[in-house]
């Protein structure tokens, strides 16, 4: 039992409840941010609570009258929630061009949710050239002005700097938490690790930082005792990769562990991609420019950003080496074009590097967990045989 994990697990149990209760408690406004790279620090500095929108655990019904069945689970589920009124407690939404499927969301929200605040940002692909950065800064200035208009309050550089520092502190602690997992295999379950990251997308950073401080303290104090009785017992170490924009089902994570595979690291969005880099503030730089530079960072590789030179496979292989992993499990969200277009190169690249890999297609409505189990089981067996 790790007591420090409790608030994180409770927060992700029912994200609708978590966010709406916070809203009731504080009387503040909530802004739903589409994943993955929106500068949420600006929303925070405006005195609002930015939350990353999530996939529900219900099958999509009415939503299919508004979006195609061959859209990814997140877009379908988000639209379904929106048209069913499940997101009415959210005061505003910010969408940007993550992929083609995100482009149609503002219209649907405007028609069916009519939020008090709706912003569509043209965050650019990170193509080389000064035009990209200049346009991005111009776009962030416009975004800042639109938030100010909504709240009726100016966002000062000092406030933005404080929000960035708060977010950076969160990132640093999450990195420490991941470092703990790598060095103390089996102490933390994969679903717990994901809950810790996911909850950071749902609750105010101030609160999340408090929880994280207590958790890290407990883990560090009880390290030896926890290591004596690892909660995940497995003979194989794996790295998880993929799952852009959304959480895979926790059942899949449990299944991986039940089959004797311990997750040593991940590059998931609801994972290490979320907190990989700090926003670098220095004395002279305008905080808005620091946010732009953070967005333009090429690592961790993200296929939605349009960087053709960074090699995602190298990053994954590096993670495997650092964690001494036996293999890689790719979690590919069904109908996720950025990942789909990259995946064959990852598979080929890992094969050439001698890293065993298996791909699990993650669907919103899981058709058969038994099919997933069979794939994972044969993967584990092949790792054991050293095939």
């Amino acid at each position: 039992m790790i007591r420090g994990l409790e608030p994180f697990l409770k927060a992700v149990e029912n994200p609708y409840k978590t966010v709406s209760e916070w809203k009731e408690r504080t009387g503040k406004k909530v802004i739903g941010c589409y994943p993955m790279w929106l500068p949420k620090e600006l929303v925070h500095a405006a005195g609002l609570l930015p939350v990353v929108v999530w996939r529900s655990d219900e099958p999509v019904t009415i939503g299919h009258a508004y979006v195609h069945t061959f859209n990814c689970g997140l877009t379908r589920s988000f639209v379904d929630d929106a048209v069913r009124g499940k997101l009415d407690f959210i005061d505003g939404f910010i969408i940007y061009r993550t992929c083609l499927q995100a482009q149609e969301l503002p219209f649907i929200l405007e028609q069916h949710v009519r939020p008090a605040y709706l912003e569509y940002l043209y965050l650019p692909a990170i193509f080389p050239g000064a035009a990209t950065k200049d346009f991005l800064i111009e776009e962030l200035e416009r975004f800042k002005a639109s938030l100010e208009e909504f709240t009726g309050k100016e966002i000062t550089d000092g406030e933005l700097r404080r929000s960035i520092e708060l977010y950076n502190e969160n990132r640093r602690m999450l990195r420490r938490f991941y470092e703990f997992r790598r060095k103390n295999l089996g102490v933390l379950r994969a679903r717990e690790v994901m809950a810790v990251v996911w909850s950071s997308m749902l609750v105010p950073k101030e609160e999340h930082n408090t929880w994280l401080r207590e958790l890290l303290l407990e883990l560090e104090e009880r390290q030896e005792e926890l290591l004596k009785e690892p909660r995940v017992k497995g003979d194989l170490k794996v790295v998880l990769t993929g799952a852009l924009c959304q959480t895979p089902q926790f059942e899949i994570l449990d299944m991986i562990e039940d089959l004797g595979m311990v997750v040593v690291d991940d590059d998931l969005y609801v994972g290490s991609k979320y907190f990989a880099n700090d926003v670098e503030l220095d004395g002279n730089k305008r905080p808005l420019e620091a946010l732009a530079e953070h967005y333009l960072k090429r690592e961790p590789t993200c296929p939605t950003k349009g960087d053709w030179e960074m090699d995602w496979t190298d990053e994954i292989a590096g993670m495997v080496k650092r964690g001494g992993a036996d293999g890689v499990i790719s979690l590919l969200i069904k109908f996720c074009p950025p990942h789909l277009c990259y995946y064959p190169d990852i598979k080929r690249g890992l094969m050439e590097a001698g890293v065993p890999e298996v791909m699990i297609e993650v669907e919103h409505e899981i058709v058969s967990l038994e099919g997933v189990r069979t794939r994972l089981q044969s993967f584990a067996e092949s790792l054991r045989r050293g095939a």
Partner: protein, 422 residues
């Protein structure tokens, strides 16, 4: 019960000329490297720039149409899948990685659809997946890439700043990259020459387009579709203007003699067709339409090709800006890639061209034509014009179910009939 009458497609003579013209274009592209010419592969509306440099240029969607037309689509897709591609990936993307697999690993595909490895990959990120294709090819071929982000605007007030962004990228990234590859300065005069030809061709094409307003219509959207190449990847070629002159003359003659696109007496249903034309299945679709007396009349895809030739100014001081204005502040062509702009335009088309129903062609591997379901909902609500969604693919035959298409079309025609009886 839908009334069945014997309808027959009455093909135009002029469109028969397009096959040899297109074949010549692709043959020149295949042979370019042997003649020491530079080759670019391009996505998005940027091919005029390599053309101005005298490069031979392949265009992503145009290649898909060509492959499909040569009945090589499924074969190239098989090569892609043998090389690790997954079926849900954009079939235009898979066609290119399939071709790369044919070049790199000798996967068997028909020779006429194998193109030379280019000197430059040009990404025009009007659709995000148009960027992924170049990224994937870079990873395989390690050829220089130059990329221009072309964000589709949601609101008219967004147009000026997006336009400035695109102009800067073309001037600061694309043109220097072309100059480097070609070893010479950007040929602005050649771009002006291409634009002069394009302006003539698109002006004629717009005059042809007007004939869609006639009832019965003398031609179909498919005739228009197969005539895209002269204002698209063949832009600037001298033969493109005479092609449209002939087409216009034939349409005028048909109109004067009241000769319809389908016999015996013209269409019973006038349809709007959304998204890509189904390149590999043009024949199957038109046969089905015609059997019901239906004709596809207009659509937002063909519309994106220069609906406003009046804004093409070959003598503009800033020729790059003039080109980008066609997509942004003047021509608004990029707005059809967002639901807001598409809905506005489709509503105009429905009214102006007396459309009876919408057929939304939803490609299971392509989401570029956003908002299809909402557009059907809204047009039904605002104009009372019904629509159906057909889920299929522009190239991959495994995703095309004739039975499903038949059922959806029957439902559409029965709805239109029922409303007419009211």
């Amino acid at each position: 019960m839908v009334e069945k009458k014997e309808y027959k497609l009455n093909r135009l003579e002029t469109t028969k000329l397009i096959g040899p013209m297109v074949d010549k274009h692709w043959a020149e592209l295949r042979e370019a490297k042997e003649h020491g010419e530079k080759v670019a592969w391009c996505s998005g509306p940027l091919f005029i720039f390599p053309y101005a440099m005298g490069m031979k240029c392949h265009f992503m969607a145009g290649y898909a149409a060509y492959c499909a037309g040569r009945k090589a689509g499924d074969q190239v897709l098989e090569a892609a899948e043998a090389d690790g591609e997954l079926m849900d990936t954009c079939s235009y993307h898979r066609l290119h990685t399939g071709m790369a697999a044919a070049i790199l690993r000798g996967r068997p595909v028909r020779k006429e659809v194998i193109l030379p490895i280019p000197d430059l990959l040009i990404t025009g990120r009007l659709c995000t997946e148009m960027a992924h294709y170049a990224e994937a090819l870079y990873r395989r071929l390690k050829i220089p890439v130059v990329a221009v982000d072309i964000p589709p605007p949601r609101r008219k007030e967004d147009l000026p700043r997006l336009e400035r962004f695109v102009v800067r990228q073309i001037k600061e990234s694309l043109i220097p990259a072309l100059e480097k590859v070609c070893g010479k300065e950007f040929d602005e005069e050649e771009m002006r020459r291409i634009l002069r030809v394009l302006k003539k061709a698109t002006t004629l094409r717009n005059q042809c387009w007007e004939f869609f307003k006639l009832k019965p219509t003398p031609w179909t959207l498919w005739d228009y579709g197969v005539s895209i190449a002269p204002v698209f990847y063949m832009m600037g070629k001298p033969e493109t203007v005479p092609y449209y002159e002939k087409l216009l003359a034939e349409l005028k003659e048909r109109a004067a003699k009241k000769i319809p696109a389908i016999l015996p007496d013209g269409e019973k249903y006038r349809l709007y067709w959304d998204a890509w034309l189904p390149w590999a299945f043009l024949g199957m679709f038109i046969r089905k339409f015609v059997s019901y007396g239906a004709v596809p009349i207009c659509g937002r895809y063909p519309w994106e090709f220069f609906p406003h030739p009046e804004y093409i100014d070959p003598d503009a001081d800033d020729i790059v800006k003039n080109w980008v204005e066609l997509y942004y502040t003047k021509g608004h062509q990029a707005m059809v890639m967002m639901t807001e702009g598409a809905l506005e335009q489709i509503m105009e088309l429905v009214e102006e061209y007396s459309i009876d129903g919408l057929v939304m062609f939803a490609s299971k591997t392509c989401r570029a034509w956003v908002g299809q379901r909402e557009i059907v909902n809204e047009i039904e609500r605002r104009l009372g014009v019904p629509g159906v969604i057909i889920e299929a693919d522009m190239v991959d035959s495994r995703m095309v179910s004739e039975a499903q298409i038949e059922t959806r079309l029957q439902a559409l025609f029965e709805t239109i009939d029922a409303r007419r009886r009211r």
